[in-house]
């Protein structure tokens, strides 16, 4: 039996954009453990490396935001990722050209506070099962530990924690 909860770290800006422009439907990459280091060293969960471990992602983002690190690799990658999504959504006519411009300017001008990390805690209820819950193939994971994707997580299906 799987864990009762799934955990995913995302930045506030990504959350806000999905809430506003994707009808509160979120694309998340998640894991069964908040901190893979707390798992038994014999379990697969312990093999989730820092780059995919929710608590490590959270701490790295929080450190970058608090220190206002303008060279933050995580924040720069998020900017690039979100602007790319805006271009793809507009090309697919899922948002307007104006909304694409709005997203890219918001991302460009965002304050550090808007890049702060949020921890999504996702109760693994009856609706969070395959095929919605997809296992990431081993070759595309950061490590051997289980990682999952939910492409259509609704805003009502998770809680947000900041610490």
């Amino acid at each position: 039996m799987g864990a009762h909860f799934l955990y995913s770290t995302n930045v506030w800006m990504k959350y806000a954009i999905h809430q506003k422009y994707r009808n509160d439907t979120h694309y998340v990459w998640c894991s069964e453990l908040f901190d893979s280091r707390t798992a038994s060293s014999f379990s697969l969960g312990s093999l989730v490396p820092a780059s995919a471990n929710p608590v490590d992602i959270y701490r790295e983002l929080k450190r970058d935001v608090q220190s206002k690190d303008s060279h933050s690799a995580k924040i720069t990658a998020q900017k690039a990722s979100l602007s790319t999504l805006a271009v793809k959504w507009a090309a697919a006519k899922e948002i307007t050209e104006e909304q694409k411009e709005d997203i890219i300017l918001m991302v460009d001008k965002a304050t550090f506070d808007e890049w702060r990390p949020l921890l999504y805690v996702i109760p693994r209820g009856a609706a969070i099962i395959p095929p919605r819950l997809q296992t990431v193939p081993v070759g595309q994971r950061a490590g051997l530990g289980e990682e999952y994707i939910i492409k259509d997580l609704q805003g009502t299906e998770f809680e947000i924690v900041e610490f």
């Binding site: 900017k79 690039a80 602007s83 790319t84 805006a86 793809k88 918001m106």
Partner: protein, 292 residues
């Protein structure tokens, strides 16, 4: 798309194609769980040009990929947004710009606030670093032409007796905040115990210091918030707010309105009249110099 700074790989391409190629290059570099990572010649060529531009050869791979992302993001932004001021104005009007991007423009009405001891610097500090900000939206399905207003709150501690909230009222026009007025609200004088937002604090302030007035031929009231009135025939727009002052109380009326000259429709975002005689007595109790 023909700037000398533009990468050769996207130079002269239609905007949509340039966007697609830049987005593909970013996507190629991002981890993409669950999908096959594919690239084509155009992506490879584009990434090669990007790396040449940012002087490949650094030992720190993390910094290198960070610079590639940054470069690609800036290219994409330049391709997508040809007029940043237009997008800024649109976001600003909706109250969705980061606070630091709004420009403050003090309106003539702000002189009244200065006479009550509020300096521009106090307001600028509140706009730059508010404790709370509320971009008020009309509680209506169709906001029509109602002016957009913002309320900023900045708490000033001082000693316990003089602690207060500075409430700054602005009208949003694109990425400009027109500073209309500001009020010091002392919890020792105004019951703010039920206030949950800057608008609630201002409303509580008016409950304490407001005077009754009418808009057009409407009922007497102390507070008008997003309401529509029709200006009766023969009435000038200077007569929109009517205030009777039998006791010759010192006062100031304040309203953010728009008037349609053809339909004579008056759309009031916010209107109130403050009893300055009463307010200035309380300000003086707190050591504020008042010039009335």
């Amino acid at each position: 798309m023909s700037s000398s700074k533009t990468l050769d790989a996207i130079k002269g391409l239609p905007q949509g194609e340039a966007e697609r190629r830049l987005a593909s290059a970013i996507e190629f570099l991002l981890p993409k769980p669950g999908e096959e990572v594919t690239t084509d010649e155009t992506t490879s060529e584009l990434l090669t040009q990007v790396r040449q531009r940012i002087h490949r050869g650094r030992k720190d791979v993390r910094v290198e990929s960070n610079k590639v992302f940054e470069f690609l993001f800036n290219e994409l932004k330049d391709v997508v947004i040809d007029d940043e001021s237009r997008v800024r104005a649109r976001l600003g009007q909706r109250g969705e710009l980061p606070l630091y991007l709004y420009r403050a423009q003090f309106q003539p009405s702000f002189r009244d606030a200065q006479k009550l001891g509020i300096r521009r610097a106090h307001v600028e500090a509140a706009l730059a670093r508010p404790d709370a900000v509320q971009h008020v939206k009309p509680p209506l399905k169709d906001p029509r032409n109602f002016p957009s207003i913002s309320l900023y709150a900045k708490y000033q501690n001082g000693n316990r007796f003089n602690a207060h909230a500075l409430i700054v009222e602005t009208e949003r026009r694109g990425d400009t905040q027109l500073v209309e007025t500001a009020w010091r609200v002392y919890p020792s004088e105004v019951d703010v115990s039920k206030a949950e937002s800057p608008l609630d604090v201002l409303h509580a302030f008016i409950d304490t210091y407001g005077l009754e007035f009418r808009v057009g031929d409407g009922e007497k009231t102390k507070w008008v918030y997003y309401q529509t009135f029709t200006l009766p025939p023969g009435q000038e727009k200077t007569q929109v707010l009517k205030f009777e002052n039998p006791g010759l109380v010192s006062h100031t009326g304040h309203a953010i309105v728009s008037i349609d000259k053809t339909s004579r429709l008056v759309e009031v975002a916010l209107a109130y009249v403050v009893n300055l005689s009463k307010y200035s007595v309380d300000l003086k109790k707190h050591g504020v110099t008042v010039e009335l």
